[in-house]
Amino acid sequence: MLGLKRVLALGVALLPGIAVASEGERIAVKGELIDTWCYFSGVMGGPDAVVGSAHHTCAMWCAAGGIPVGLLGEDGTVYMVLKLGEDDDSNGGDTFLTMTNDTIEAEGMLYERDGLNYLVVAEVTSNEGVTNLTHEDFGVTPGNTIPDAVVDKVLEE
């Protein structure tokens, strides 16, 4: 049987245009901070190619450009990250940019709304850096990530 709070929340949520905060759930989750646009849209290829080191620079471009950063959990669940610790600048903020593709453990509040998971991270409890070495299989995505001049310089060394 639905509790009174849920009945009231459901009733209000059914009214178009009425804002109502969801009831959150405290969780701890481990995963990789990813570029959600490339992951969901397939615009750069399949999901395995748009995570980890292969996609690191593109993910930084997207994070700086204000594309939402997500946390890809070990079970494949994607959490849209709305706040990272004290930083709620999810539209291109420094914390979101500098932690791109890091594997982290986080504690925070999970809110589910209309088929998406939203995560408000209270604390990052560990950060292993970039550990998903996808460049070994996919190179870099997109393929022109590293400028030709940089490639040529390294090859001339």
Partner: protein
């Protein structure tokens, strides 16, 4: 072998085609060949998503610092616009922030869902936006705002090659995020 694996992966990417959905009527959205893309034009209230889901509500939806959402008028669903209309790694929040709390009409593409993230809803790319009854505007405001914030980053090439925060990160951690020396090993092996 690596290149063969990459080609196989690209070929395995799901077949893509623009499809009509429940909100496609009247849409003039352009195809981007996205996963399970669906044209979608609808009216909605523009909200600060952190406020909407968690009740953390600063003035003016955070004045452009936060991700913005669309509470669709027809069914009350919270739609997440991840992308604006520019093909250069730019999100939608900067285009939507000026409409905080207002009713708008948007036109764009829904993408994603079960094919990529089982059990997950689609996200949205907004291509144009207007206040109810107003003139349509293209959702392409991001680069102008970036240029205002980065007056010293003028030069050739797109913004993401000149952005000082990105160039600083690449100088420190390399293109792979593993350090400059790992970049060299990779380049010598791959190119």
């Amino acid at each position: 072998m690596k290149r063969i694996a990459l080609i196989a992966l690209l070929l395995a990417t799901p077949a893509l085609a623009a499809e009509d959905g429940a909100f496609s009527e009247g849409s003039e959205a352009k195809s981007w060949n996205l996963t399970a893309q669906e044209k979608a034009r609808f009216t909605a209230k523009v909200v600060d998503i952190l406020c909407e889901v968690a009740g953390d509500c600063p003035k003016d939806c955070g004045a452009g610092t936060r991700q913005m959402g669309l509470v669709r008028e027809a069914d009350g669903a919270l739609i997440f616009p991840n992308k604006n209309g520019q093909p250069i790694f730019t999100g939608a929040a900067t285009d939507l922030a000026p409409y905080c709390g207002k009713m708008v009409e948007v036109d764009g593409l829904l993408t994603g869902g079960d094919e990529i993230t089982p059990g997950s809803a689609k996200i949205y790319q907004v291509q144009r936006i207007r206040e109810l009854g107003g003139e349509w505007k293209k959702a392409n405001r991001w680069t102008k705002e970036w240029a205002k914030k980065n007056p010293d980053a003028k030069g050739k090439g797109p913004w993401f090659r000149r952005d000082p925060r990105i160039t600083e990160e690449i100088a420190k951690d390399g293109y792979l995020g593993l350090g400059p020396e790992e970049d060299k090993v990779f380049i010598k092996d791959w190119y």
